[in-house]
């Protein structure tokens, strides 16, 4: 499972970085979204990857990380998702405003001079 998760994070992060370096605003937006997915998965994986070890204390089972997964990274991910979603939405608004003002979708507001 570790290998699958790390490959998933790696693929999303590298695709995100490549897209952020592209000259079109929409590509940058998708790149940021992919990167934030990668980061969210990464935070999630910090709290020990395990199947069937939900962080709800059952009677008679010792409350430690052997029997349960760590609940804190999961709550951090929730916060990060909400904040990332809001800022991405804001980015989308600015993207549309730039498109309206410049008439193009280049990140610099104008095409490169050749």
């Amino acid at each position: 499972m570790e290998a699958v998760i790390s490959i998933a994070i790696g693929v999303m992060a590298s695709a995100g970085v490549w897209l952020i370096l592209r000259p079109r605003t929409f590509q940058v937006l998708i790149g940021l979204t992919l990167l934030s997915y990668a980061v969210n998965l990464f935070i999630f994986s910090v709290g020990s990857l395990a199947v069937d070890r939900e962080p709800i204390v059952r009677p008679g089972v010792v409350a430690d990380l052997v029997n349960y997964s760590d609940p804190l990274p999961q709550s951090l991910v929730l916060t990060a998702i909400v904040i990332g979603f809001a800022t991405t939405a804001l980015f989308l608004v600015v993207l549309l405003a730039l498109r309206g003002l410049s008439g193009g979708d280049h990140v610099d507001g104008q095409e490169e001079r050749l």
Binding site: T25, V39, L90, A97, L98
Partner: protein, 547 residues
């Protein structure tokens, strides 16, 4: 020792939040009422900040801390707010900068967009929270609050130039925030806690196998902070964004770079002091040399700028570079001078961004943002400059008696001179006191890096003085018959107030330096901070009406 502030410590965060919520309910109109509410709330916030600072400064103990547990959870589990001398200083600076920018905005800028007042209060809330929190993830949340508000403030007033600069600014900051998250996650994975004091406490016990991971996490976190502080080569976004922002927004942004500097100063001195075992002084050289390159870049940028707004932005970069470099030396005396410099340069930077617009106003009537610096506004070459007809040159002199300088021009000239003196660090103003304190401390260090900083501090002062003098000559000594600029009292008041604060720092330099040195000593003895935070006890639960 700990100072009991009771609930006063959380007030700087709750007050702007409540004010913003209230103003959001008022809808888009009713600007007059909103302005009154906003000014009252910001003034009250400044008063609370000053009372926090005075409460801490009263104690002579090596370090005084106010610790507050917002959720009343015992320490490593809940969020903790801590006010020490450094936090209190930053909070007071935030209050000053906020009040000055707000008063300035009342004249014209508050009418340029619907939600200026709400965004402004949220910006203050994020700043206050970032300076007071002692929890790493909570710091991230407050960073996001202040950044989200700054995105809105940067776009305030609209126009293609602002939107273009805003898009770059948002992208850079979103990427930096993602790096912040990665760093926090790695640190949590290694130490198992998010409380800054608890992290610092557990660092020496991290096994050697995890140490590489710990360093990688700390470095990623530092990149996020340093990008916000404007360290070279992470600062190319800063001059266009700050130059495009409306005057009051840019004036508030003068303290945004200081948030990055504050976070580095707080976490680096806490986590990697000389006594931290295998990690002692981790990354100190990077901070020193990165800061030095940034200082040089800022100084050269000031010389190269043709526009006053860009010049002010480069002076912000230069002051960030100075501060980051001094952090890396890990010397309490130097940090003490640097903190004094931080206060002085923040006030001067804020005043400078406000002055920019007043100076440009006589040339540019409309509210639009300034154009890109494409070189077309360059100064004429020295020999090409022909005096326009009717110029009163020395050769055919006419008596100038009886022609008064317009009051507005006199005010602008005087404040610009004072501002330039503080920024360049020339005597007799606060910039000079700060630089002198840093130079004296540097003489005692005797390392190549210290000498480089010594030389660069003096050179950057020279470069700053030259570039500001050039701008001053262009604005005040040109002979074109311009109508004198029209100023409103409400616009001149904040600038005069900021420079008066800077002047007060000179008159009270002894007390001020004593305060910043005490703050620096507390920073360089992290055990005091750790003890104060870890020793905080939750308030015992009051059991109803038990018999």
């Amino acid at each position: 020792m700990t100072v009991d502030f009771n609930h006063l410590l959380v007030a700087p965060i709750l007050l702007p939040l409540a004010t913003a919520a209230l103003m959001l309910l008022l809808g888009e109109g009713r600007r007059g009422l909103k302005a009154v509410v906003n000014v009252l709330s910001t003034t009250l916030g400044l008063a609370i900040a000053v009372s926090l600072l005075l409460g801490l400064a009263r104690h002579d103990a090596p370090a005084a801390f106010g610790v507050y547990l917002p959720g009343n959870w015992s320490v490593p589990f809940g969020i903790v707010l801590v006010a020490d001398r450094l936090s209190a200083l930053m909070v007071v600076l935030t209050g000053c900068v906020g009040l000055a920018s707000l008063l300035y905005a009342l004249a014209r800028w508050q009418h340029a967009g619907a939600y200026f007042h709400v965004l402004f209060q949220l910006q203050l809330m994020g700043l206050y929270g970032a300076f007071l929190t002692a929890d790493l993830f909570n710091l991230f949340v407050f960073f996001e609050v202040l950044l989200a508000a700054s995105y809105g403030l940067l776009l305030h007033g609209g126009g293609g130039e602002r939107v273009r600069a805003g898009l770059h600014y948002i992208t850079i900051n979103l990427v930096a925030s993602l790096l912040f998250l990665i760093g926090v996650a790695v640190l949590y994975g290694v130490t198992g806690t998010l409380n800054m004091a608890d992290i610092a406490q557990k660092l020496p016990a991290v096994p050697a196998s995890d140490r590489g991971l710990l360093h990688a996490g700390a470095a990623i976190l530092a990149i996020a902070f340093l990008a916000k502080a404007g360290l070279w080569p992470l600062n190319f976004w800063l001059p266009p964004a700050y130059a495009a922002a409306s005057a009051p927004a840019a004036a508030v942004f003068a303290i945004l770079t200081k948030v990055g500097v504050y976070a580095v100063l707080r976490l680096w001195t806490l986590c990697f002091p000389a006594g931290a075992g295998a990690s002692a002084g981790f990354g100190g050289d990077v901070l020193v040399w990165g800061g030095l390159v940034t200082l040089a870049y800022g100084a050269v940028g000031m010389l190269a700028s043709q526009q006053l707004a860009r010049l002010a932005a480069y002076s912000v970069i230069a002051s960030s570079g100075t501060l980051v470099a001094t952090i890396g030396f890990d010397a309490p005396m130097l940090s003490g001078g640097a903190l004094f410099y931080l206060a002085s340069s923040t006030l001067a930077g804020c005043a400078m961004f406000l002055l920019v617009e007043l100076l440009e106003r006589s040339r540019q009537v409309e509210v639009g943002p300034q154009q890109v610096d494409d070189g077309n506004y360059a100064l004429p070459a020295f020999f090409d400059a022909e005096p326009p007809p009717g110029t009163n040159l020395d050769d055919d002199e006419e008596a100038l008696i009886g022609r008064a300088i317009p009051a507005a021009l006199a005010f602008l000239g005087l404040t610009f001179t004072v501002c330039a003196l503080v920024t360049a660090g020339l005597p007799p103003l606060s910039g000079f006191v700060a630089k002198l304190a840093m130079l004296t401390a540097l003489l005692g260090l005797q390392t190549p890096a210290a000498w480089t900083l010594f030389v660069l501090l003096i050179l950057s002062g020279l470069f700053g003085a030259m570039s500001l003098m050039r701008v001053g000559m262009r604005h005040f000594w040109t002979t074109q018959d311009r109508p004198p600029p029209r100023l409103r009292v409400i616009e001149t008041l904040p600038i005069a107030g900021l420079l008066a604060a800077s002047l007060a720092m000179v008159l009270q330099a002894e007390a001020g330096l004593a305060y910043t040195r005490a703050a620096a000593e507390a920073l360089h003895a992290p055990a005091l901070y750790i003890d104060a935070v870890m020793g905080a006890q939750p308030v015992p639960r009051v059991t109803g009406d038990a018999p």
